[in-house]
Symmetry: C2
Subunit: 437 residues, 2 copies
């Protein structure tokens, strides 16, 4: 009998590996930060003895959910302005408030709230694009959450950086500070074609190349952006970025709403990962990303919440449900984005577009133990005929009981174990008062 730290048992185990089979009465063995084994409980119980048994009857276990596009600290601007066009929302509401309040201290406190919300909802990894990401990294280590942090690059000065040189110095510092970290993966994040000129995109790409890190950007989000790109360069945003040589498997791009068939071919050929942010795209009236076409073309599509200021929450379960439903109506085909595909996008695809496929995204021996235990003994999850269907169409963040990141329990009984929830909430209230003015 091999000793392990945890055996996690469940009525339904979804490893999200291989053929996506459901293992009934399954179990996962965890040692240190890694998954040691996964299979039926009968097999696992024969091979291992554990310090602690988690899960049990009426539970389902699946890999930690992955939020591939957000601006975590913007959680402090949740619901500040709604039901407005993207440009007006950004220029008249979000940017002025950020201009006034955004500091390293703001990011420190706000990221705490974002992590609290995400972890309790089963999200174990997020990919960010913002400023003061060094501060976010330190908070992540404290709270015990995994992230790919992108140092934002824009063409205009801010409190965070006065010049292009400043932005790139901050980005390179982020990379050197966090390269090799277990939980935090640094990357470079040129904002979008309408806020970053070709020089900054090329410079970002060169920096990413130099350090072997990823590029995170917004791409083809709105009709406005596409029109502007056509006007300036006579190309779609995808054609334009391809033309300046910055599209590759190193890039993961949020939104990808306004795509031509040629754009889809380019994204597939360049192996660019797509972060589908459906709830943000709906709420800001950006449009419908052609996800079924992207998937058919072999493009890796994962899910993202976008910032809570636009969405207005950070729940990947919500994005799964919305994506699985909306694309059926758009294509008039109820078979597209089925419930397995939705969970695949939220787990394995997410890991792959973040180049973390060797570490997370499925419960395979040797990978990190980023694991969710959810409770199925809920009225809205009863009766049960298909567990994938329930996770995609019915499960709510409140059903998440236990969350493990890197082999460490960070949520137990629905409560954060690593930091004081009340303190995080109290800090948010103080900032709310300041921002309201």
């Amino acid at each position: 009998m091999q000793k392990v730290d945890f055996i996690i048992r469940a009525d339904y185990l979804l490893t999200m590996d291989g053929g996506l089979d459901v293992i009934r009465d399954g179990a996962v063995a965890v040692t240190g930060k890694n998954i040691t084994d996964a299979g039926t409980f009968a097999d696992i119980a024969k091979k291992y003895s554990a310090e602690k048994i988690l899960g049990g009857t009426n539970k389902v276990v699946f890999p930690g959910l992955i939020n591939t596009h957000t601006h975590a600290a913007m959680v402090y601007l949740r619901g500040l302005a709604d039901d407005l066009p993207l440009q007006e929302w950004l220029e008249k509401h979000i940017w002025p408030v950020e201009g006034k309040w955004l500091t390293s201290e703001f990011v420190d406190d706000a990221v705490g709230l974002a992590c609290l919300e995400m972890l309790k909802a089963g999200v174990t990894t997020y990919a960010d694009m913002y400023f003061y990401e060094d501060t976010a990294g330190k908070k992540l280590e404290k709270i015990g959450m995994r992230a790919v942090l992108g140092a934002g690059i824009i063409d205009f000065p801010s409190k965070y950086a006065q010049s292009a040189d400043d932005y790139f110095k901050n980005a390179e510092n982020l990379i050197t500070n966090w390269k090799g970290s277990e939980l935090v993966t640094p990357c470079v994040a040129p904002h979008a074609t309408y806020t970053c000129g070709p020089d900054n995109y090329k410079r970002a790409s060169a920096l990413a190349e130099k350090h072997g890190v990823l590029l995170h950007t917004h791409l083809a989000e709105t009709r406005f952006e596409t029109g502007l790109c056509q006007q300036r360069f006579g190309k779609t945003p995808v054609e334009y970025l391809d033309g300046i040589g910055v599209l590759s498997e190193r890039m993961f791009a949020a939104h990808c709403v306004w795509l031509t068939d040629r754009d889809i071919e380019i994204l597939a050929k360049r192996n660019v990962g797509v972060c589908h942010c459906i709830e943000s795209n709906l709420k800001l009236a950006s449009g419908f990303s052609p996800v079924p076409k992207l998937l058919k073309a072999g493009v890796k599509v994962a899910l993202g919440t976008d910032g809570a200021a636009s969405n207005n929450d950070l729940s990947i379960l919500g994005e799964m449900s919305t994506a699985a439903k909306v694309h059926k109506a758009v294509t008039e085909d109820p078979t597209v984005v089925d419930s397995k595909t939705a969970l695949l996008m939220a787990t394995r695809n997410g890991a792959e577009i973040l180049s973390l496929g060797d570490k997370i995204g499925s419960l395979r021996p040797g990978k990190r133990a980023d694991i969710v235990i959810a409770d199925l003994a809920q009225p809205h999850l009863t009766p049960i005929y298909d567990v994938y269907s329930h996770i995609t169409y019915c499960m709510r963040p409140s059903d998440i009981e236990t969350v493990m990141v890197n082999g460490k329990i960070v949520v137990e009984g629905g409560k954060l174990t690593t930091m004081d929830e009340a303190e995080i909430m109290a800090k948010a209230k103080v900032w709310q008062g300041k921002i309201k003015g």
Copy 2:
């Protein structure tokens, strides 16, 4: 000081009356089954003393949510078959299972689970279309929930009724059994244009007229239905039903997806209520109902979950969020279906299309006390700048703490007070076993 049974206090009180103002530190006084008064806590506390004070800091109070279209007992078929076209889903999966298992006992047990799920999610009234509604009525009285129960009428025989005469005898019995009931309002429910011929529609309308009750139907749900109607009658479903004289303010119609501008004019002119079931329409790939156009034309639009077999849950909060987001993308206008409109559809509009506007839908003195208390001290509801935005875009059923129907507390601390939750869940598991076979 007038004595009342309850004073319900909250940081934010949304009466959904008049101009939809938010009352900060508000309170509602309840006596017996009725609302006695609503206003600021300071005013209410001066005028009334109560047996029991509910609510308090970090709470928001609003009227019970209204689900204007469901098939409650179908909750037992939740997730039985997904990601399929409507006709295949109905004909190959749902109808065969119903044919085998649907009995009065099935309805009795299944309605218990549906009510449990809805009440815990803040839904205090639902409008149903199904069979064995007498059984449902008895369960509703036991559990303490309000409903408009529609006796289903279809052209073909079933275990429930062998002939048209049988269906109408059952419908008339339902009406006479429940007319004047405090919680249960009976009505007649001809299923749809593709399952009910003109004779049954006219007979249903005459029966409704005779007893002064409502008509509940499915209308213009799918491209299939619209095509069939054009083929048979050379008319859209709305034109056809109008042509046979059955459209009036007595009718509330679910779906209304495939509408011409002329159809919208007819619905407005005839004062037909529309139950918008967006999540069902998305998931079954039925399409997008032109809700912003309907609202602009003055049609009363409320929200419905449809049955849990198609949706797959019974949460009106979910429908609000989805409706508020999706119509923005469809119309490329982020200002449509704003957060106030979403809550209005879920409360006052719902009451009005069910002809219960004098009893429920807003917290006005003299109306019944159907009231929800929700907790705002949650990470996903923090910070808070606009309470309407939070209810529509971020609130989850798990935030609902206390629910009152007809002046009686039915949910307290998130738990059902009127029946044993474990027993309801255990019964569902037994039926799950039978249905799985």
